[in-house]
């Protein structure tokens, strides 16, 4: 991305008047800022954006945005977003939520959303915890995170969302850090612009239940190499990194869902259009 699109609206115009109820210090504030800056930079009209979420602290984000929004059922944001995009391909559909919502309750949907490659952007605000329900370990929690709720840690290997996204067929895969608003804004703008299913994991500290995550700002760093278009190479890189490389990891060129129909004959196109809402 080299130049700014002509901005008709400011980032603040994409924020609703509803005040976020996130805890002061929560990384999700920065993600809200990055997302509004990204859509403003892309000059997307608010009436052409839909943000779909599940349940959790981060899933409150549609309420704080001045665009269409759907605060849905726990773990089911991706099926909703997929259905919406297939029915209304003219909309920019962004799906948002947390690591528990997306990788545990909605884990199955995550795999198949990557596989289907519908042209949506999935933003997971990962704080490695269930924050809204007061601090239980989530699928991305380290196995030795010792708390009163999980004495001695869970002992269970964490879910590796980036590798799973790559293995399942996501067309754009990136990791960002909420405190890096400028970098996250750029990654989100690229993810939204990239055809097919784009997955962005954003490390977002939960300062209430994981105050140790305040240190993430000192741990994140740019990746040593640029993104690749080879999914296997991307997977090898991310499997061996320290978990704090931020940046775009992979950009694929797989046809997005429906592209084959678009290229085929009139009959199929007519049939497809007939069922559009």
């Amino acid at each position: 991305m080299s130049a700014a699109a002509p901005c008709k609206l400011k980032a603040s115009d994409y924020k609703s008047g509803t005040r976020p109820v996130w805890c002061p210090g929560c990384g999700d504030f920065h993600i809200l800022a990055s997302l509004t800056k990204a859509v403003a930079a892309l000059a997307l009209a608010p009436e052409n954006i839909a943000v779909v979420s599940g349940i959790g602290c981060s899933s409150r984000i549609p309420a704080y945005l001045n665009c269409y929004g759907f605060h849905g059922v726990h773990g089911r944001a991706l099926p909703m977003a997929t259905g919406l995009k297939v029915a209304r391909p003219d909309l920019t559909v962004i799906c948002a939520g947390g690591d528990g919502d997306g990788f545990s309750i909605g884990g199955n949907h995550f795999l198949h959303a990557c596989r289907r490659n519908v042209d949506i952007t999935y933003v997971v605000m990962d704080n490695e915890i269930y924050g809204m329900t007061k601090g239980q370990p989530s699928p991305t929690t380290a196995p030795d995170w010792d708390t009163e709720l999980a004495p001695g840690g869970t002992g269970v290997s964490p879910f590796h969302p980036l590798v799973i996204a790559l293995a399942s067929g996501a067309n754009f895969v990136a990791r960002a850090f909420s405190g890096d608003v400028k970098g996250t804004t750029k990654i989100l703008a690229e993810a939204i612009s990239h055809p097919g299913f784009s997955f962005v994991q954003i490390l977002s500290p939960c300062v209430t239940y994981r105050p140790d995550q305040r240190e993430w700002k000192n741990k994140v760093h740019p990746p040593p190499v640029s993104f690749t278009t080879d999914a296997a190479q991307a997977a090898r890189r991310v499997m061996t990194d320290d978990g704090f490389n931020i940046g775009i990891l992979y950009k694929g060129s797989r046809d997005k869902y429906g592209q084959a129909v678009e290229r085929s004959g009139d009959f199929e196109r007519d049939l497809h259009e007939e069922f559009l809402v």
Binding site: M1, C23, G25, K134, V181, T185, P205
Partner: protein, 173 residues
């Protein structure tokens, strides 16, 4: 547009200076709202005052820019020294029970960062107009630093148990 370092054109420097203040206004306003939600009214009031102070500074920069046509930069094309514009509070440093002294300490750090940013531009620039503008902005920030220090002196440092909450958010006891 220059691509690296602090070789700004006058218009680019003005865009950066304006963005620093406008982002700070937004950031302080949001922090004031967050503190108000947590019933920390003293700190909410301080952040609100900081937002007003930065808004006045933004107006001053607009006046300096006058009729000059300012370039439109994408958010990722701004050249900050750190991850964020220098006057944005690091949100991870914020706590719902923070004291006015802690809030003003963060605000002071911001003013110092902004001063350092403009001092660096003034030092590095080879353009006389940019150098003069950067010196002017650095002087403004220096004045803000002095204000912050005076303000800070009025509030005692926090007690050791400043973050004690008799009804903490964690339900793990």
């Amino acid at each position: 547009m220059s691509k690296t370092g602090k070789n700004f054109t006058p218009a680019e420097l003005l865009v950066h200076a304006l963005a620093i203040e406008l982002e700070a206004v937004q950031s302080y306003k949001e922090l004031a709202e967050q503190m108000e939600q947590c019933a920390n009214t003293d700190v909410a009031g301080l952040f609100d005052k900081m937002a007003k102070l930065e808004a006045e500074h933004a107006e001053k920069i607009r006046d300096t820019a006058g009729n000059m046509e300012l370039p439109e930069l994408a958010p990722w094309d701004f050249r900050w020294s750190g991850l964020e514009p220098p006057e944005n509070i690091d949100i991870a440093s914020v706590h719902y029970l923070m004291t006015p002294h802690q809030a003003l300490t963060l605000a002071l750090e911001n003013e110092l960062s902004a001063m350092a940013f403009f001092d660096a531009v003034a030092h590095d620039s080879t353009d006389d107009q940019v150098g003069l503008l950067a010196q002017e902005f650095a002087a403004d920030e220096r004045q803000h630093v002095a204000w912050m220090k005076d303000w800070l002196a009025k509030y005692p440092p926090p007690d050791d148990d400043w973050d004690y909450d008799p009804d903490p958010p964690a339900a793990l006891d």
